[in-house]
Amino acid sequence: MKRKKSYDYARFGYIFSIPFVLAWLVFQLYPILYTLLLGFTDLKGAGNTDFNIMWSEPFKNFITVLKNKSFKIAFGNTLIIWGLNFVPQILLALLIAAWFTNRRSTIKAQGIFKVLFYLPNIITQATVAMLFFQLSLYPKGVLNDLLLMLKIIKQPVDMQRIANVAKGFVIFIQTWMWYGYTAIVLISGVLGISPELFEAAEVDGANQWQTFFRVTIPSIKTMLLFTLVTSLIGGLNMFDIPKLFLNGGPNNATLTTSLYIYNKAFQGGYLYGEASAASMIMFFIIVFLSCIVFYLLRDKDEVELRRLVRKQEKEYKRKLKMSKM
């Protein structure tokens, strides 16, 4: 008797993926396409949903945004704030990772240190921003008092009015919030390196620095690149801290692109069209960056395996055809 053809389980693969796909189509893809469309329209006014596509000059919004002085400042600020926070962040994280994974001397209480390093990352950014606003008040503020006490300054300084100091605060907050996260990620990366590599380096008489630069860093290269790109994507979306710290001020010193988009779309003129264009410019930059992440994340062995399987299938089909002929 012929065995009953096995029940078709494959359809459950599709059925169980439906909720995800539906939610993604409605709540993510549709907004993407709609925002893109709005970029070509003159939509403005709070709560307004009627728009005209500007057929005569479709790219008007995009050109306006790219020529806009505030947008250029915002874009520059976003990159500066990200860059100046990423460099100390990754250096500090690497240092901690090297120290905490050192095979020659074990550091006690690592668990507690990690918990404390990560603490600022879990606290609501809005609260952190407001807190630093309060701490840096003038003339009577906690930080001013502290600096006076330590005799670093002679008179209270209005830190929130000095452009570079304000920017420095945002950079500091970002570094302070993220180095712990990066350190934990890198530590787990270093712990994943095969111990044999370190043993070999030890046998060869490499000192700590040599081991670090010749073994550790090359082994976590992909992870470092991944950290760089994901941090950049996060940095390009920076909003909470600059918004609630000084709302982009003083004199646009802490204005980021996300804050620019927010102000364009939800304040003053409610220029949805223009804000959509700005959003899409940032969106495509991030899409480009996430292509890099995608490339880094793909399972190299699996890709190779799949390629081989496909090749064999083709070969097999060809042979089958040949034999039929």
């Binding site: 389980y9 494959a10 459950f12 693969g13 059925i15 169980f16 993926s17 909720p19 939610a23 709540f27 993510q28 907004p31 993407i32 709609y34 469309l37 709005l38 939509l43 709560g47 240092l95 120290w99 020659r104 550091i107 668990g111 918990v115 404390l116 390093f117 990560y118 879990i122 609501t124 950014q125 809005a126 609260t127 952190v128 407001m130 309060q134 701490l135 009577k140 906690v142 934990i184 530590i187 787990s188 990366g189 030890e202 046998v203 008489g205 992909t222 992870m223 994901t230 994507i233 909003f239 949805y272 804000a275 959509s276 959003s279 899409m280 969106f283 899409v287 960056l289 996430s290 995608f294």
Partner: protein, 294 residues
């Protein structure tokens, strides 16, 4: 052999030598300094939350708490604007709801990836990885316009339902489930007559508990801390989430109530601090796990 023992000696020498001790001291000093730096701003906040505004005005900095915490909270609530309980409740509804949806449907999608052989499976997984990093924040204008048309603005549901599609969580769940689920369990359950959906709910979900717990913490905290989306979608104060309540502390009526502002800030992060005290071990382990492979 002699070579080997020599090596042993030098290694030990290095470890016990002066250099090693100095390095260790430096490591501890830096680590302790960084730890203090993590706590200090929050400690200063807490201390000032317990001091009266006149006290803060005479000396803003103090490391020791005073006794005015409840007066400050009283002033805060008397202005009828900043409502931490309301914010807590709204945030709890949003974060709780979206976490449950995200965790459940991500597990389901991951399960479909791991257990069934279907034609589009690999293509679908590549697609999930491709959309993982797409920033929702930048398409919020389109999202808002959609909500306007559906008359769903100012509705907490729109902060919850989109969580069903969480690509990075699906990615994580699949990485976890793939080695953790012995396919024989599924087969034998089928022989016992269990339906596919039942197998997922009653057998697979319990197996996934550790992954679900980790992902749930991060989803919850992420949603709890989100400022941008609710700020765009919600306009009535009674639906404000916690981070939005924080922005109310900027209002003019609180401008000179320094003690109260610090008390308000303390209230907004108290739940998070409590959660962190109890779950920090798992959270830190989760961060390390979520780092994907290098």
């Amino acid at each position: 052999m002699s070579n080997n023992s020599n090596l042993q000696l030098t290694v030990e020498g290095r470890e016990k030598g002066k250099g090693g001790v100095v390095q260790k001291i430096i490591i501890y000093i830096v680590s302790i300094t960084l730890s203090i730096l993590s706590i200090l701003p929050f400690w200063l906040m807490f201390v000032n939350a317990t001091r009266s505004t006149p006290q803060i005005q005479s000396t803003a900095i103090s490391f020791l708490p005073s006794t005015h915490l409840f007066d400050n909270i009283k002033i805060l609530s008397s202005k009828n604007m900043f409502k931490p309980l309301k914010g807590f409740l709204n945030s709890f509804i949003c974060a709780g709801g979206s976490t449950i949806l995200a965790v459940y449907f991500s597990s389901l999608t991951a399960y479909a990836q791991v257990v069934y052989e279907w034609k589009l499976r690999n293509a679908f997984f590549s697609f999930i990885m491709a959309i993982m990093m797409l920033p929702g924040q930048l398409t919020l204008i389109g999202f808002l316009q959609m909500c306007y048309k559906l008359h769903l603005t100012d509705n907490l549901l729109m902060l919850i339902i989109p969580a069903i599609a969480a690509p990075s969580m699906v990615f994580f769940m699949k990485q976890y489930l793939h080695p953790a689920l012995p396919i024989e369990i599924v087969h034998s359950a089928r022989i016992d007559g269990a339906r596919e959906f039942y197998i997922f709910n009653k057998i697979v979900l319990p197996i996934m508990k550790p992954a679900i717990a980790t992902q749930a913490i991060f989803a919850f905290v992420g949603s709890w801390n989100n400022l941008f989306t609710p700020m765009v979608l919600i306009n009535s104060t009674k639906k404000y989430t916690m981070p939005m309540m924080v922005s109310l502390l900027r209002a003019d009526i609180y401008k000179t109530e320094y003690g109260s502002i610090y008390a308000g800030l303390t209230l907004t992060i108290l739940p998070l601090i409590l959660v962190y005290i109890f779950l920090s071990k798992y959270i830190v382990a989760g961060v390390a796990l979520g780092s994907v492979k290098g």
